[in-house]
């Protein structure tokens, strides 16, 4: 818990990576307090907990995964660390069906 708060405060104090560190440093108190509240709330209520069926169910791959990878362009000069709409880890987010 302390590590989580420290990391949050550290991130705030660094201004999320660019400039404005001193000003963001002043947000350490509110962010630290809010992080503590959120951590304890989650620890007591466990609203984020469900069966991790993706990992806890026996799954046998019948064949190697197949597919295609085609370069279709470049995304240069972006300030975003990740692709927009990154959902590689969000397995439960449903997207449009392939018709």
């Amino acid at each position: 818990m302390i590590a989580t708060i420290a990391a949050t405060v550290l991130y705030a104090s660094s201004g999320g990576g660019d400039g404005g560190g001193e000003l963001a440093f002043l947000l350490a108190g509110p962010i630290g307090g809010a992080a503590f509240y959120a951590y304890v709330y989650r620890y007591y209520r466990n609203q984020d907990k469900t069966h991790r069926f993706e990992q806890e169910t026996i799954v046998e791959r019948k064949a190697e995964i197949t597919g295609d990878d085609r370069k279709v362009g470049e995304n240069n000069g972006t300030r975003q660390r990740r692709i927009e709409g990154d959902n590689i880890n969000n397995h439960r987010q449903r997207v449009r069906p392939i018709e």
Binding site: V59, T66, D69, R70, I83
Partner: protein
């Protein structure tokens, strides 16, 4: 401006794929950050004539659904195989049935071997529904009247919560074992393994770690001894499926900064790829709730997610139905059919597919945005089961709204999860105090360094 070129993307691997984005030899299409591309051609659809014929052939040659009814037992008096007594109970420590009169112990057969539920999953075609998982007939009453085989008296059993009753005249135990179409008798039952004392210990330990900010009324009324052993209804599903997912991924090619001092900013260059992945997989014993109430996981309205979180169970050890396994426990009967549960199962299978392909796109170090997906469920097998849960329930009213907070223990594995009502005012004050201390430290630091 400083520039930090990244190492070039990994070489192509072709299909099958293995976690690194390939570099095609041909010139790429026009450079757009995210170009929608046509997904791969779909397989034969159910409406296609060829597909329809194939389905009819598969249906005609499909084996009959497994008949899981325990033919040795019937509704009413079922006796100990050795002495003939009807006072039979589960002995959780061994998972065996024990005759309370002669102490003889025995067990029903595991359904995994008896009905071959662990076999042929990768070749499943069509929908196979075991006899205990069939559709519920709304006209069948939950209340069943049994004629006592000992004295002839009529005894009523409310199958919504109980599967046995004692004859009030001759004291024989009467049990429900025939698969009537009201969802009360499943294909299999997984007996309790943890005892009441062990469950109390786990619940007390779980709540004990959460005393400081627990609501005062919860702490005052906390009585772990009131934990109830309940068999909850689940559908255990085997599936043979193929899934396609389509999207875009990015590979970092360069990181650099522009500006100086406070205006220094970091920029990234990336190559954009169109991706398609196909995974063929077989899933063994995917377990989902088959009660409409329990399958509602709306965290704003209930704490059913707590019961969901103690999955999975060792469903391979489930045994053929015998109502005596339920003696001393309550049960909640299934009220959903395969058709109602199917969308949830398909959703979970799609999530499993997305999890399976994750490793194959690990080389896209700026992440992947999946945009389209499809699941082709070739075959599935559905088995209804009662699974054992120790459940502590506390009804807490807050802001005029009541909610049952559960602490649940998986009565096979001991996995424990719960929801403890919070003293929110106390927590807010503690958070404010921590925030104030942090802020004071920061201000002191800034003053000292200015």
């Amino acid at each position: 401006m400083t520039s930090t070129p990244e190492s070039p993307p990994p070489p192509p691997t072709g299909a099958p794929v293995g976690g690194t984005p390939p570099q095609p030899a041909a010139a790429p299409p026009p450079a757009e950050a995210a170009v929608p591309a046509a997904p791969p051609p779909p397989p034969a659809q159910p409406g296609d004539p060829a597909s329809g014929i194939a389905e009819q052939v598969a249906a005609a040659t499909a084996p009959p659904p497994p008949q899981t009814e325990n033919a040795r037992l019937h509704d009413g008096v079922n006796r100990c195989p050795r002495c003939g007594s009807t006072d039979i109970q589960l002995r959780p420590a061994t998972g065996m049935l024990v005759c309370l009169f002669c102490r003889y112990e025995w067990s029903e057969a595991r359904v995994e071997e008896r009905f071959g539920f662990g076999e042929g999953i990768r070749d499943l075609q069509g929908t196979i529904i075991a006899s205990g998982a069939g559709d519920i007939d709304a006209s069948v009453n939950d209340v069943i009247t049994l004629k006592c085989g000992g004295c002839g008296a009529e005894v009523v059993v409310q199958t919504a919560t109980q599967m046995s009753a004692r004859c009030h005249w001759c004291r024989h135990m009467l049990t429900i074992n025939e698969q009537i179409p009201n969802g009360a008798v499943p294909d299999a039952v997984l007996p309790f393994h943890l005892t009441h004392a062990q469950a109390v210990e786990k619940i007390a330990a779980f709540a004990g770690k959460r005393r400081l900010f627990a609501h005062s009324r919860f702490k005052a009324e906390f009585t772990p001894e009131n934990v109830v052993g309940v068999y909850l209804p689940y559908m255990v599903v085997d599936a043979n499926a193929t899934s396609d997912v389509v999207g875009h991924g990015e590979v970092l090619t360069r990181t650099y900064t522009r500006g100086s001092g406070d205006d220094k900013k970091t920029y990234y260059d990336a190559d954009v790829y169109w991706l398609h992945r196909r995974v063929e997989f077989a899933v063994d014993d995917l377990t989902v709730e088959s009660s409409a109430d329990r399958s509602n996981l709306d965290i704003a309205a209930n704490t059913n997610n707590i019961i969901n979180a103690i999955l999975p169970f060792d469903t391979k050890n489930a045994v053929a139905w015998n109502a005596n396994y339920l003696g001393g426990f309550t049960s909640e009967k299934r009220d959903q059919n395969v058709e109602a549960i199917t969308p949830r199962v398909q959703d979970q299978l799609m999530s499993i597919a997305r999890s399976q392909v994750e490793g194959s796109v690990a080389g896209y170090d700026r992440g992947v945005r999946w945009e389209q997906e499809r699941l082709d469920l070739h075959g599935s097998r559905w088995v209804s089961m009662y699974l054992p849960v120790w459940l502590y329930s506390y009804y807490h009213v807050e802001g005029g709204r009541g909610m049952a907070h559960y602490i649940a223990v998986n009565a096979r594995t001991g996995e424990t999860m719960g929801s403890v009502p919070l003293a929110k005012g106390k927590l807010f004050l503690a958070a404010a105090l921590i925030g104030t201390v942090l802020e004071s430290a920061v201000i002191a630091f800034l003053v000292a360094t200015l």
